[in-house]
Subunit: 441 residues, 2 copies
């Protein structure tokens, strides 16, 4: 399916940091890029983008984006952008002769909405509008949003300031070419600006605008720098905890890492570079453990726990910036295993300070073995226990607990004790998994 | 699809060990069970088995098998089994009114042949015969096999001693109920025994027997204890090396383990019990490493290499006896990791015999870390390199090499050196995989 995006307007308010509104960065990714990447995640590969105001700046960016995303992108230049967004849509009349997705260049939308909508087939001459029925949606600016009145799955009326209303126009449409005819009809009868919602109102009165209910999925209209801030907060909040997060990750690490990710997302670093950076931070802690005495142990422990917090950022930034890759996730896991192993090696060295081999060597090995085995068995175990985790009915013993124990061991100057605890906890957990997997297999 | 199996005959020669031919064990699994399990692997769930000679012994076994395999199985009793195998087929006339798979109770067949054949749709009144075109097939007894003459994808003639011939009847048919009509027709005109091949000849003369070429897939007719021996050798040979076998596994371990598996398959032990047993053997080696001096080291090394050989048997027995489970493969991998870890721990202890911590501890840890990381990265790496392995264009660094190095280190009394070699080889291999996976990702 083809996708038309209108991004020709000037944007109503001041944009200080960006050269123009479509390029305004939201957590490091320009607004228009977020819109296009959401559509790409919904498996759309062919785009038509209408540019107008500052188009000479936006179009080279879009050409580069198309190359990076591997999509086809055609520019539609609208010099009459001051005549309203209806004109922007009309400019695409010649190139879109079958049903197409229509998006606003300044509305962030969840890809799942687009996936759901593109599975609809509009009847002849009909368009489908994605409607947000949650009229208490806190992200919506009631003075500016386009309201709709729907009955029997049809949009009956639409407009800013409409009363009564029972939903919001999300700016996401599945159009048939009948939208062009409606716009032409309005152009023949009207002087001045032509808004897309005028055409929707016309079709709605004829019973030709169906409703697609987006449920509680996320969309937000970005009109001002304040909206950017609001959108960033929502995107960050949606990161929150993953189902497989252990208790330390969930309640201690994530709250910090999400704040850090907001800042990191604005820097030109890739998630893989972050993974390597965090690994190097852990290595500093591991090296400190090799020095005798309490101070290096304490500082190492604090750095190890810091690395545990930072460890969430690579995945968070990847999710925030559409940079998730299978390799990235794998590399992060491999580097985490190395980091853990070196921390335990350092701790074992520290614990056997008297210079004698013996128990510390064995306990250290057992701690390392157990830790590795918990990671080694995680894939199968997590797959079996998926439902338990997502319902919060179980928590996962993993890296977050391991590093927090190391931190506590350093804090209380008990490296030997903490190695013992890690050895017991991790090997017992492995044994538990062997039993569980057997029962469910 | 339903499956008819005829197992009513007496079997022409002496069966010493088994109470009757269908229950004769081939590598620990009764002949008739192998036939049924092959069909189950080809996704067949409903069976009709014709029993006659010694049926009172075979039928309880089949009832138990049906329960174990979760299939539906209906007995068809043929008291006239001495009247030829055509009568056995005819007994199923009333219950099989659509196309069905017809198998001989004494022919071992590869499940993939059945999968291929059941994808065929026989035309009206037609049957399909799986034909082995390899007339030099060494498994075939030329004096006893049923030969066929085929032209244009049709069986034109069939019979023992047929000349000329260009294929063998494998005893695997996709039948339509027309086979019953042909058998009835023969019964009306014939006195004495009625063979299935008489009906096939009749249909063949009418152009109603299509050929399904089995290529070089495996089948064998079991008529005598000598055939059992022959079949066992073939089944064992087909185990041979897996694509991901490293060089030590391929050239040293497999030849031994396959011989052992032949013997183990006849014992009432499950593959999971074997996995645990081999793990315990490794643990004996690991414990020996904790004792000072050359002798415990040497004995431990020999036991470790023996465990490496035995480690192939659980998977081999599972494949030989239709006992492969996902859990079994996973458990084996988990126990292997523990075994390796304890061997390396023992070796580290042995290497630091002077009582001082220091280099041995670090090298031991690095050896353990590298070994774990090679296992941890194996899944992704092997998936990417699958084609290379199957074409023999690469060999895999893994457990076989690790345990062989431990054996060599024990043999030459160089525990410290071998820990260093393992540390370097395994960590370099992990690094190589990180680079390779990045390139292919």
């Amino acid at each position: 399916m083809k996708c038309l995006i209108i991004a020709a307007g000037r944007g109503s308010r001041l944009w200080r940091k960006a050269r123009c509104k479509p390029l305004a960065p939201i957590l490091g990714v320009p607004l228009i890029e977020r819109v296009i990447r959401s559509a790409v995640e919904a498996h759309i590969e062919e785009f038509f983008v209408v540019t107008g105001y500052r188009g000479e700046v936006v179009r080279p960016f879009l050409d580069d984006l198309a190359r990076r995303c591997g999509i086809r992108l055609t520019h539609i230049v609208n010099d009459e952008w001051e005549q309203g967004n209806g004109i922007s849509v009309l400019k695409a009349k010649e190139v879109l002769r079958e049903p197409f997705l229509l998006l606003m260049g300044d509305h962030l939308v969840e890809p799942s909405i687009l996936k759901g909508l593109t599975e609809y087939l509009p009847n002849d001459g009909e368009i489908v509008l994605a409607v947000d029925r949650n009229v208490r949606n806190g992200l919506v600016d009631l003075t500016d949003v386009t309201r709709v009145w729907t009955e029997d799955g049809q949009v009956r009326d639409i407009g800013k300031g409409l009363e009564p209303y029972n939903g919001f126009d999300t700016g996401i449409f599945l159009c048939s070419p009948s939208i062009f005819d409606a716009l032409e009809e309005i152009r023949r009868e009207t002087e001045g600006e032509i808004a897309l919602s005028d055409a929707v109102r016309l079709l709605g009165a004829r019973g030709k605008v169906r409703v697609f209910d987006i449920g509680d999925q996320f969309w937000v209209d970005i009109d001002s720098p304040e909206d950017v801030d609001k959108a960033e907060r929502v995107l960050l909040k949606r990161l929150a905890a993953k189902g497989t997060d252990g208790p330390v990750a969930r309640y201690l690490n994530r709250p910090f890492s999400i704040r850090l990710s907001r800042w990191l997302s604005r820097l030109p670093v890739t998630p893989n570079q972050l993974s390597v950076g965090v690994f190097l931070v852990s290595m500093v802690a591991a090296v400190l453990f090799f020095f005798p005495g309490y101070l290096p142990l304490l500082v190492g422990g604090v750095i190890a726990q810091t690395a545990s917090i930072l460890d969430g950022c690579d995945g968070e930034v990847a999710r925030l910036k559409f940079q998730r890759t299978e390799y990235g996730g794998w590399l992060d896991a491999v580097l985490d295993r190395y980091a853990d192993a070196f921390l335990l090696m350092g701790l074992t060295w520290h614990a056997s300070e008297n210079g004698a081999k013996g128990l510390p060597l064995i306990i250290g090995f057992l701690a390392l073995i157990g830790s590795f085995m918990v990671s080694y068995t995680a894939h199968k175990h997590d797959a079996l226990m998926k439902d338990f985790f997502s319902k919060g009915r179980a928590f996962r013993i993993g890296r977050d607990i391991r590093l927090f124990l190391i931190f506590l061991g350093a804090l209380f100057n008990q490296p030997f004790l903490v190695l013992g605890v890690i050895a017991v906890v991790m090997n017992m957990e492995t044994l538990r998994r062997i039993v569980i997997c057997r029962r469910f297999a």
